[in-house]
Symmetry: C2
Subunit: 441 residues, 2 copies
């Protein structure tokens, strides 16, 4: 059975283009594109037939089905041959049962989807496998590119550099110098990408990379390019699969550039259209208060999201004032009876510390999600028996400075209520015994 | 079918003890213990019946089979009830096909088992789930412990703190102050463990924690305790499972305290005894030249490994001069027709940089393994068509300082041949275009 996916205008203008074509905006209206699948063809399989196929492939080591993304290939990017796929077996991440953290909040059914437990340490791997596979396929069939490029607050550049290195493609990343963590900077360096540290912020880097793409100097890997959404949408499908095809009540998602919120909806929409599920969870988009353009629009009842200048936040990956995927995210919120909430620097730091004490190792973005969860439980929006999933977007190991600063009471404007500094001692048995007694007796 | 596992003396002295008992050495000879399974009972299932069971469980999200360790529970720790298990769905890690890196070495069948892509970022999770589950089970049945403790070069303490936090158990970790990376220190801090930074090295911390255990102040989680080997041994079983139950030709394992080398053998031995495989791979234990007590013994043809004072190495997790599990590792090497090789600081840094350029993000210990691989290919020991697996023990994200130092040419005594520093620019389009042309034209 042959399935097809093409680019179309998000707003509905006429025209469709092959996914291998380097086109990023609608030639008619200049707006975003999206990948559209041949749903009529896909619907010739029933919902149960799809879930059976996906279950059979899940975690199989046979190429490419060890990947949670490519195990759903017909829904993601159906025409890419096996040999063109660039995969590091992304997906199949732990849906962590947050038993102790949930208990603290009075929630019996709280789960955290650990997308950061991935090859490059963030959910970006899910989308990057799709984009880099399409580019490799296109290059092998004649596409001329000097390099594949992105502007990034960190995670995207790490993922692009890793997948590009695995594929042997030239990679350029533009980063806001001084505004991202060291771990995030050294990932693309290590993978051999050309790393340009520009003296501006994320939005400034984005402006330059868009122009590089418009002038056909690079192939654009930022989320204007809708390919990555096709991989990222599998996170929602995978969560439902891990619940044996049951839909949770709530999904909370920290989001900055808003591509992931759009992706989540795309996955749920597809499941519903193809008879796999019959309802949606409610979507909560969680923003950092210091970078909250969507929250402001939502509070004002506006569909148009106005750009702001983002203030500095510990949640650096979502420190974005002019989110590219805003229109897509608004559509997602409307379709999924969603809401937007925000968390302050103090709230996210506290939530991270509390969650870590229950076994998680939360990145600051996950902490934004958890802090928002806490608010929604406190105000009664989320009920104690509601099945709730918080998407954890990146590996805590990428945010060592955040955690070190917390435990050293060194985050400006934040009180480290749960700091746990090391006790420094000489190698003296008696003093060690005393220290243990002092803590645990 | 009821299976049993008990503690017995590694050297064969009489006596057996329940795995829930806090005993760490043989009361007769003072030597190491090991977990012994009831092989006669296990052998009532055939090899194919075991592999079918393990394959069925491998994909499931049903508790506790989302864990690569507990999916093999009858071989690991058969008597722990589901409710006592503390698991973060460890295992099921990517067996990465190192296509490009293999090509550089002339190897067509090279794989890297990415154990670092785990909850706490190292293979230690595999063993810690077993130990912490046993302790929780024992505590619920009356065992009195003030805390569970370990001495650690980093990874063990991170894993113990994470699993202890998930279980709500009090945790103490002893770390050599100033000799481990910041990321490794902050992990147990974040999880709420009592972290004691002692002004000594790993071996000094180990001496103190052994005494704390002997005096029953703590339950010992170091690898003298043989429980963790039962979980760690699943890595070899999982590799074979991922090859559809075929045995590779070589397994290369970076190893310091030598517990993991013992564990690897334990898994292969069990597979052979229970009819799942009929031969062993050859085992290569890879040591850092600066911390090479096993290598020295091997070169001298001695079975006794004499302690040395380990020198400083970038591969901090294997910077061990007095390896606890030396006798077990020697037995493993003999049974698996193994050999021991070493890598210098320059060699490991080069190997890490080369591997990273092909999409991996290697910790310095994996780099020791890869550098040793390169030597064995160069000298003809490993053939170009040999199926070779290198075990990657930790997540590169834990070793940011190592990678940053490499790309800043800041590792003492090491030349950074493949450094790739960022190009710092103002946000000027023309300069960006020039930089891209300079690199890729």
């Amino acid at each position: 059975m042959a399935y097809r996916a093409t680019f179309r205008c998000f707003q509905g203008c006429d025209g469709s283009w092959p996914v291998t074509q380097p086109i990023y905006t609608c030639p008619t209206c200049g707006g975003l594109l999206e990948v559209v699948h041949d749903l009529a063809a896909l619907a010739e399989r029933t919902g149960p037939q799809w879930t059976k196929l996906f279950d059979e492939r899940y975690k199989l080591n046979k190429w490419p089905y060890g990947s949670g993304v490519w195990g759903k290939r017909e829904w993601v990017m159906p025409e890419i041959p096996d040999d063109d796929i660039v995969s590091m077996y992304e997906g199949s991440t732990n849906l962590f049962w947050a038993e102790r953290y949930g208990q603290e909040l009075g929630l019996s059914d709280l789960w955290v989807k650990l997308c950061g437990n991935s090859h490059s340490g963030s959910f970006k791997d899910l989308g990057m496998t799709v984009l880099v596979s399409v580019v490799r396929s296109a290059v092998r069939r004649g596409l001329q590119v000097k390099a594949v490029a992105c502007a990034s607050t960190g995670d995207t550049s790490a993922a692009l550099a890793a997948y590009g290195a695995a594929a042997g493609l030239p990679i350029v990343v533009l980063l806001p110098r001084g505004k991202i963590s060291t771990a995030q900077l050294v990932q693309p360096l290590a993978h051999g990408a050309l790393v340009l540290g520009l003296d501006t912020d994320f939005d400034g880097c984005m402006a330059i990379v868009k122009r590089l793409a418009q002038e056909n100097i690079v192939y654009l890997a930022n989320s204007m390019n809708p390919l990555r959404i096709e991989g990222q949408k599998t996170v929602g499908i995978e969560v439902v699969q891990q619940f044996e095809w049951e839909v949770p009540d709530w999904i909370i998602l920290p989001s900055g550039n808003l591509g992931n919120a759009s992706a989540l909806y795309a996955g749920f929409k597809m499941m519903r259209e193809l008879g796999v599920i019959s309802r949606f969870p409610r979507l909560v988009v969680a923003q950092a208060e210091n970078a909250n353009p969507l929250y402001r629009a939502w509070q004002a009842g506006k569909r148009e999201v106005e750009p702001i200048v983002a203030k500095q936040t510990q949640a650096t990956a979502i420190q974005i004032g002019n989110p590219v995927s805003a229109p897509r995210a608004v559509r997602a919120l409307e379709a999924m009876n969603g809401l937007v909430e925000q968390a302050s620097e103090q709230e996210l730091a506290d939530a991270a510390a509390r969650a870590d004490r229950t076994g998680m190792y939360t990145c600051p973005h996950t902490a934004v999600g958890l802090a928002v969860l806490e608010k929604l439980v406190s105000n009664g929006t989320i009920g104690s028996r509601d099945r709730t999933v918080c998407i954890s977007t990146a590996n805590g190991l990428k945010f060592t400075e955040f955690k070190v600063a917390y435990h050293e009471s060194a985050i400006a404007g934040v009180t480290s209520n749960l700091k746990n500094p090391p006790v420094l001692l000489p190698p003296d048995f008696g003093q060690v015994v005393d220290a243990i007694g002092k803590r645990f007796d």
